[in-house]
């Protein structure tokens, strides 16, 4: 099981791959929509890859609740 630092690093890689945002920009306090300019469809792609990578389920209604990178890291840590 990955710890929070590993989850953040893994998530940052996915965000870079899907949305072309430098992984270094992806920190826990950032909001996906407002700070990183990631839209709802890119969020779906990120969720799908995170599911594969961390062995979690992130349904669409849960996904809508994950506002910041930190929210996503916590959700993955709790559900992996």
């Amino acid at each position: 099981m990955a710890d929070n630092t590993e989850i953040l690093a893994g998530l940052a890689e996915i965000v870079e791959e899907v949305a072309g945002i430098d992984a270094a920009e992806v920190s826990a306090d950032k909001s996906f929509v407002d700070d990183l300019d990631i839209d709802s469809l890119s969020m779906v792609e990120i969720a799908v890859q995170a599911e594969d990578k961390f062995g979690v389920k992130i349904p669409d209604d849960q996904l809508a609740e994950l506002k910041t990178v930190g929210d996503a890291v916590d959700y993955i840590a709790k559900n992996q």
Partner: protein, 334 residues
């Protein structure tokens, strides 16, 4: 003794002989839609990729569009209409079930007494029908089959629903399938097809909603997006494998034009599996919108017109949509 039943004489395989399409004249821009519903050009271009779409006039029917596309495909094949003995119309937007579209379309084109039927696999319809047409030819139960994808989605839309009104459009596309003289000339690979019935509610018609047809298309956009971006690439890869090829063999990729973001996501996945960077990918949705079963042959015909599909190209087709249903195959372009 019980007599043994004789089967039709099979042929080596099937190939594509001709292609044609029809689009309504009326162009509807994003700005025009934004006058009616709460949306804007930038949002539609970024999320869906559409800049404008074609919408049929009130007095133009689905059969009118199917007939024009079909007649063009027959002409392109060099065959006489009398040589066609099967007509399939893939559609999910007929105003009524009876009569079907295929028999009247055949009659309009001057094809006499063909096997004629409609099939509904929504946006996967053309690829389903192409698979059936190729198997009919190969099995010897028909010699030349005209397969048409035709939709008048505008009749089945709630024009106040911004999650569908911005996406769907009208049009028709058609191909003539005939026998390949020998194994080397086979031009339609085996179809990779299937369905995901557990997601049947993800795209459906809701009664009423002020549409012309009395029901309006509704979809769970994100669920469909998630499904398409994960499940379509494996279908495409399976079609390549069934044809005995590898992703690097594909010159042109024509997926159903549902959403440019889906097209790009699937193409990216295929490239990760070895498809070439210079593989040409259909982006016909930009000026045609999502025309369901018509989108694959429409895109193919437009790519031929602008030189992006050429004779001898190895083309990968894949359709997917309501059902949910999916189908794909590899075609050698005539």
């Amino acid at each position: 003794m019980t007599p043994v039943l004789r089967l039709a004489e099979p042929v080596a395989g099937a190939r594509m002989l001709g292609l044609g399409s029809h689009q309504p004249e009326r162009v509807v821009t994003n700005d025009e839609l934004a006058q009616r519903i709460d949306t804007n050009d930038q949002w539609i271009r970024e999320r869906v990729g559409i800049r404008s779409r074609r919408i049929a006039a009130d007095d133009v029917s689905l059969v009118d569009m199917a007939s024009d596309a079909g007649a063009r495909a027959v002409k392109d094949s060099g065959l006489d209409p009398s040589e066609i003995d099967g007509v399939l119309v893939a559609t999910c937007t007929m105003p009524n079930f009876i009569p079907n579209a295929a028999a009247q379309t055949a009659e309009r084109i001057g094809i006499r007494a063909p096997a004629a039927f409609d099939l509904n696999a929504a946006c996967a319809g053309f690829c389903y029908g192409l698979g059936m047409a190729a198997d009919m030819v190969r099995g010897g139960t028909a010699r030349h089959v005209l397969i048409i994808g035709a939709e008048k989605l505008s009749d089945w839309l709630d024009w106040d629903d911004r999650s569908t009104a911005i996406i769907f459009a009208d049009g028709a596309g058609a191909a003539v399938i005939g026998p390949a003289p020998d194994a080397a000339a086979v031009g339609v690979g085996p179809v990779a097809w299937g369905s995901a019935g557990e997601m049947n509610q993800a795209i459906r018609i809701l009664d009423g909603h002020g549409s012309k047809a009395g029901g309006a298309l509704h979809q769970e956009g994100q669920a469909v997006f998630r499904w398409a971006t994960t499940q379509v690439a494996p279908v495409a890869l399976r079609a390549i494998e069934l044809a005995g090829l590898t992703p690097a063999d594909i010159d042109v990729f024509v997926p159903h034009q549902a959403n440019l973001r889906i097209v790009e996501a699937v193409a990216k996945k295929l490239r990760r599996h070895g498809a070439r960077e210079d593989m040409r990918v259909a982006d016909d949705i930009v000026y045609s919108g999502n025309t369901s079963s018509a989108s694959v042959p429409l895109a193919l015909d437009h790519m031929r017109a602008d030189g992006r599909v050429r004779s001898g190209d190895t083309v990968l087709l894949v359709g997917f949509g309501a059902g949910l249903s999916f189908a794909g195959q590899v075609v050698r372009f005539p």
